[in-house]
Every structure is written in structure tokens, then in C-alpha cells.
């Protein structure tokens, strides 16, 4: 069958039922998004932004539209993914909010902090929703963000004020059914001086194909600090498309630590924009993939004002016939003087069929800046393997330990011990297990 026809049918199926009912909120935004989604075509490898990532396998999938009623798993079933040290939790099952599995503070219980569903925030008329939703993640040229926005009925809403220091919110998205598409949506508004942490976590109870199409918007106010951790551990057949759009005001701080174990195809767009002077960004990424997975990270750091700092480390461990893509764009606009930006991309290929495409993309239009970038692709360092062998480890064990360490170096930066432990166990499974534990 004709590729265009397949992709058109895919898009029609994806949008069928998305049209907003007038009684719902955000009708204008959603109608506009639907209009854009219909006007845009699905990306192919002919698009520069998708050169290395062919979504054809996704277009062939017969996805079911988001469902209103889903059978909720019992608390026992998801217990493995609960982080005991993070008491605030919102759980979505196949895209539907589950009040019984969630632990949300009652309104007003924490001064300065609102954690609720987007639906509830809209119903209560919270002005921050209208002020921010859809403002950061543009639907104009991003088809998948447009589709997500067209379906926008619910999601996570976090608004932190100055008094709400240090709270962490765990957003857990559980896939329980094959062929379902879910459109997760998160809006975090950190007001001036606020501090808040977000953990965005995707898991699956089944091994079939499904599709996650997420949009996360984070508005970081002046002097505010937001730490954002994303863990993507979908099934091996899953498709995961995500756009994270962040705006950071004067002297604000935003960190993004994203760990992906792939899925069939995953695409993580991270767009961070400086909206004031003196901001600081930290980006850490790990793609740890095997089999037929393709994991694509496209980051875009936009230094639009002076005195911005950004540090980025993206690592890929690619085994089997897997394929990692990293496109790290850093834009230093005219006037963004004294920008201090570093980007490092390090990839290890563990098999002959493993493949990495890496593309650092620095665009600098200011003359008084420090920008450094580096990319390495290769095997483990012979000197490191030798060192461990002189301590009695076999070559295989040495390689496993080094591979584990290479990946754990990123995972260990997650500030939640139970999640580090669970991810470290997963890294171990692929690096010799008890042999190096």
C-alpha cells in the first residue's frame, strides 16, 4: 500500500474523536491544535528533523483511540514502581487518571503548592492553566504536540509558589493494554523563587505495542528551581513520542535528567528556552538500548539572553541491532553574551550491528561566549579494561563492569534512591548481573 495513504489513515485514526465538545475547557486551544494536526503531515525521513528516525512501523499500527473507561490494576500490581520516599503521586493508566492509585495532597494542605489533575485545575478555574498551557509547546509545526493538544482533557498540573520548597511529584504512566494510544500532558508552573521536582515515569504491564504521545510544559519563574527526571521504561514494542518545552526566567534553574530503555521507537524532544539573564540548565541523558530499539533524543538549548549557563551530558549504550540518535542543538542568540555552554555526547557500541547517529549543532551569534562540545563513539577504552584485568577480573567481567559504570554514572544522579536502585538493577540485568554486583 502507498505510504502516504497509510500515514493519512494513521493520522485520521489518531484524530478521530479528538474534536472538543463545547462544554469542555480549552476549546479554542484544542480546536486550533486539531486544525494544525489535520494540516500537517506525518514526518518521514525526508524531514531534516527525522532523518535518522523512520516512523513507518508506527504508521502501520492500528491504534485504538484513547478510551474513557479502563480497568484499573490493583495497587499490588504497580507497587514495584512506587517510590516510597516520594509521597505525592499521580498515576495514569492507559492515559486515564486513577484516583485510587494516586496520592495527591488535599487542596490547601501544603501552602504554596497545588498538585492536581489538569481537569480539576481547569474546573476550579485556576488562571495558571489558561496562562501557560499550550504556550510553551507550540502546536504550529509539531504534529505530535498538536495531536496531544487536540486530545487535551486531562493531565498533571503542578503550581509551586515560594513556600513549597523541595517537594517532589511522581507522575506514573502505566500502559496496561496493547494498541492503545495515550496522550500524557503535564504542566508545571514554578512561580518566582519556588523549588519543585518532577519525576515523569513510563512503565508497562504488558509486552505489546502501544503508543505514548506526551507533552510536558515547564514554566520556571525568576530564581525558581525545577528538577525534572524522566524515566522511560516502556515495553520493547512501544512507541514513545515526547516533547518537553521549558521556559526559564531570570536566574532560574532547570535540570532535565532523562533515562530511556527504548521501546520500538522513542523520540524525546527537549526544548529549553532562556527567558531572562543568568539562568542555569543541566541536561543529563542516557539511552540504554538493545534489540531493535531506536532511541532518538533531540535537544534544543536556546540561549536567548546574557549570562546563561548550560551543561549537557548525553550517553548512549547501544547493544544488539539497536540504534541511538542524538541531535544536540545549542543556539546562542545575538546579545546572549557571557553564555557558558558545554555539551558532551559519549556513546558505546556493544555489537557490530549497533548504530549511533550523533549530531552536535552549535549556532553562535554572540561574540563573547564560551561554548564547548565533544562527541565520542566507540568501544570501551582498552586502558580501562586492562586496569580491571590487572585486578583479576576476566575481560568479559571488566567490560560488563565498565558498561554498567558508564550508564550508572547518569542513573546515579537521580536524587531518588529507590528509583536509582530499580534502574541500577535493570542495568545489571544487561551487564552480567550477579557477576558484577
Amino acid at each position: 500500500m502507498d505510504v502516504t495513504k497509510i500515514s493519512r489513515e494513521f493520522l485520521d485514526a489518531l484524530l478521530s474523536g479528538a474534536a472538543p465538545v463545547p462544554t469542555e475547557g480549552l476549546v479554542a486551544l484544542r480546536s486550533h491544535a486539531l486544525e494544525r494536526a489535520n494540516a500537517l503531515s506525518v514526518p518521514t525521513t525526508r524531514d531534516e528533523e527525522w532523518r535518522f528516525t523512520d516512523l513507518a512501523p508506527l504508521y502501520r499500527l492500528a491504534l485504538r483511540k484513547p478510551v474513557d473507561e479502563v480497568p484499573m490494576p490493583s495497587a499490588d500490581v504497580i507497587a514495584a514502581w512506587i517510590a516510597p520516599e516520594v509521597p505525592t503521586r499521580l498515576v495514569f493508566v492507559d492515559g486515564r487518571f486513577s484516583p485510587s492509585l494516586s496520592a495527591v495532597p488535599t487542596a490547601g494542605s501544603t501552602p504554596g503548592l497545588t498538585v492536581t489533575t489538569l481537569a480539576a485545575a481547569m474546573a476550579s478555574g485556576d488562571a495558571a492553566v489558561q496562562a501557560h498551557v499550550g504556550k510553551l509547546a507550540s502546536v504550529d509545526d509539531d504534529l505530535f504536540a498538536a495531536v496531544n493538544t487536540a486530545w487535551l482533557r486531562d493531565g498533571v498540573f503542578v503550581r509551586a509558589g515560594r513556600g513549597a520548597a523541595g517537594r517532589t511529584i511522581h507522575c506514573l504512566f502505566v500502559a496496561t493494554q496493547a494498541d492503545v494510544v495515550q496522550h500524557p500532558r503535564i504542566l508545571v508552573v514554578a512561580e518566582d523563587g519556588a523549588e519543585v521536582a518532577l519525576v515523569e515515569d513510563y512503565v508497562s504491564l504488558q509486552e505489546g505495542a502501544y503508543c505514548v504521545n506526551a507533552v510536558v510544559e515547564v514554566a520556571v519563574g525568576a530564581n525558581a528551581r525545577v528538577r525534572h527526571v524522566k524515566v522511560q521504561r516502556d515495553s520493547a514494542k512501544a512507541f514513545h513520542l515526547a516533547t518537553t518545552s521549558v521556559s526559564v526566567q531570570r536566574d532560574g534553574f532547570y535540570s532535565n535528567l532523562a533515562v530511556t530503555f527504548g521501546g520500538r521507537i522513542s523520540r524525546n524532544n527537549i526544548h529549553i528556552r532562556q527567558d531572562g539573564t543568568g539562568t542555569e540548565f543541566e541536561l543529563d541523558g542516557l539511552a540504554f538500548i538493545d534489540g531493535r530499539s531506536l532511541a532518538d533524543t533531540h535537544s534544543f538549548v536556546d540561549h536567548a539572553h546574557a549570562h546563561g549557563r548550560s551543561r549537557q551530558l548525553h550517553k548512549c549504550v547501544v547493544a544488539g541491532g539497536a540504534h541511538a540518535v542524538f541531535n544536540g542543538r545549542i543556539l546562542v542568540r545575538e546579545g546572549a553574551q557571557k553564555t557558558d555552554s558545554t555539551q558532551e555526547n559519549r556513546s558505546i557500541l556493544l555489537s557490530d550491528k549497533a548504530h549511533v547517529d550523533t549530531k552536535p549543532q552549535l549556532e553562535i551569534f554572540a561574540d563573547d561566549v564560551k561554548c564547548a562540545h565533544g562527541a565520542t563513539v566507540g568501544q570501551l577504552e582498552a586502558e580501562e579494561v586492562f586496569y580491571l584485568m590487572t585486578r583479576g577480573l576476566s575481560e568479559g567481567t571488566a567490560r560488563n563492569l565498565l558498561t554498567y559504570g558508564f550508564a550508572a554514572d547518569v542513573v546515579n544522579r537521580i536524587p531518588i534512591a529507590s528509583i536509582v536502585k530499580s534502574l541500577a538493577a535493570r542495568l545489571l540485568e544487561h551487564t552480567g548481573g550477579q557477576e558484577i554486583a
Binding site: E381, A382, E383, E384, F386, Y387, L388, M389, T390, R391, G392, L393, S394, E395, T397, A398, L401, L402, Y404, G405, F406, A407, A408, D409, V410, V411, N412, I436, A437
Partner: protein, 257 residues
């Protein structure tokens, strides 16, 4: 002090080695008996570090001639890990950083592999923790170094202490310490030297590979060898080291020629 009666631990005859086709070692004869301390000195580029790495089994070096028998076994036939398990230890001049792997995990893995292979009980993390903390006292190391990634962000001195800690854990028969004194301040040098002296016995031996004689004030050698141009060109007692300190290396070359 050696009485020359110890069992021969290492016997190297006519050892030649090259890297990327370039000959570095050009016929080394070297014998170490149990209970002895040797120092190998020499100018930069003389082949000292290469000699250590060749004996440890570094894959980049090709042995092109000669023999090396370690405790009755052909050392050159063994892989690097087999050499370590059989009791050969190399303390690195530049210990490798392994981000993401906790030092405790690495040390325990090395201990269980090497000592477990010699019939010692393997230790679980808790047992090992007690065990390694005792050894760390010897080197006045902060136990916090157990939780940090292997050598990552360690100062030069901390890395060298961590090397000697590994020597303490692995109980080698023969330890080559490659430039262990470089990067150490005087207090760290004293502590590391005390650690090494503490580990010496009538059954093991130590070879100090060093550019300076400073370390030899703390670990007193029975024999001092001078390496130049890939050969051991002179051997003497500890007084040779003092002479080298005073006169440099140039006179040796002239004398040998």
C-alpha cells in the same frame, strides 16, 4: 634486608618488547627473590613503565623475545587476569577512573575474584565492608572513599592510596609499584610507604619503579637498578640511588658506553 636466600619469584631473561612495532625493551635480565625490595630507576622514556606493563600483560605491548618466569610459571603465557590471580600486582602510575562504579563494589569484586580463586571465602557486601575498613586504616583513608566512584575525582595522592589499598586486599606475591611516589606530598608519601612496608614479608617482594630516590628513604631497597634505553645498565645497593640523586643519570650512560 635480603640475604639472597629467598625463593626466586621472578626470573626475567633477555626480555624484549615493542609497541606498535617500535622496540622499547631490548634485553632485560632481572631476578627477584622472596623477601627482597628492588628499585628500578632511570630517566623518562628509559622503559621503566613499559617493563611493568609488559609483565602485567598489557595488550598493546608485544613481547618479541626472552622469557619471564613467575613463581615457576611462564608469566608471558598468562592473560592479565591470570597474572593478577596468580599473585602479580601492578600499582598504576595513572590509575584509571571508573565513573558509576562504587569503589566498594570494585574492590569487593577484585577481592572475591583473586582471593576466592585461592580458596578464601568470598565476602558479601557487609562482611567486606568491615574487612576493607580495617585495611583502609593502614593507609589512613576515609571510609567515604568506599562510596565514591572508583578513582573518580580522587586527587593524585588519593588514587595512589587506593592502589596500595588494592595491594593490601589482593595480597600479591610480587608487587610492581610504578611511580607510586609521583603526585604525593610528603605526608601522603610517608603513609603510603608505611602501608607498603607493613605488607612486606619474607614470602613476598616489592619492585619500586621510580624516577626519584625520595621514596627509597621510606622503603629501603636491597637492590637498585638503572634502566636506560630499554636495558638494565647498572645494579647496586641503595647507595646507588643516592649517587643518582646527586649526579643524575648522565654519567651512567657514559660509563656503560
Amino acid at each position: 634486608m635480603s640475604n639472597g636466600a629467598g625463593k626466586i619469584l621472578l626470573d626475567v631473561r633477555g626480555l624484549c618488547a615493542s609497541v606498535a612495532g617500535v622496540p622499547i625493551l631490548k634485553g632485560i635480565d632481572f631476578t627477584v627473590r622472596a623477601g627482597e625490595v628492588h628499585a628500578i630507576m632511570g630517566p623518562n622514556g628509559s622503559g621503566k613503565s613499559t617493563f611493568s606493563k609488559v609483565l602485567a600483560g598489557h595488550p598493546s605491548y608485544e613481547v618479541t623475545g626472552g622469557t619471564a618466569v613467575f613463581d615457576g610459571v611462564d608469566l608471558l603465557e598468562l592473560s592479565a587476569e591470570e597474572r593478577a590471580r596468580s599473585g602479580f600486582f601492578l600499582s598504576f602510575q595513572y590509575p584509571v577512573e571508573v565513573p558509576g562504579v562504587a569503589n566498594a563494589q570494585f574492590l569487593r569484586l577484585a577481592y572475591n575474584t583473586v582471593l576466592g580463586g585461592r580458596g578464601r571465602d568470598e565476602l558479601d557486601p557487609l562482611e567486606f565492608d568491615d574487612f576493607v575498613r580495617e585495611k583502609m586504616k593502614l593507609l589512613e583513608m576515609d571510609p567515604a572513599f568506599l562510596d565514591r566512584s572508583v578513582n573518580t575525582g580522587f586527587s593524585g595522592g588519593e588514587k595512589k592510596r587506593n592502589e596500595i589499598l588494592q595491594m593490601a586486599l589482593l595480597e600479591p606475591k610480587l608487587a610492581f609499584l610504578d611511580e607510586t611516589d609521583s603526585g604525593l606530598d610528603i605526608d601522603a608519601l610517608r603513609i603510603v610507604a608505611q602501608g607498603v612496608n607493613h605488607l612486606r614479608s619474607a614470602d613476598n617482594a616489592v619492585v619500586l619503579v621510580t624516577h626519584y630516590q625520595r621514596l627509597l628513604n621510606y622503603i629501603v631497597p636491597d637492590f637498585v637498578h638503572v634502566m636506560d634505553g630499554g636495558r638494565l645498565v647498572k645494579t647496586g645497593g641503595r647507595e646507588l640511588a643516592l649517587e643518582l640523586e646527586a649526579r643524575g643519570y648522565d654519567w651512567i650512560g657514559k660509563q656503560a658506553a
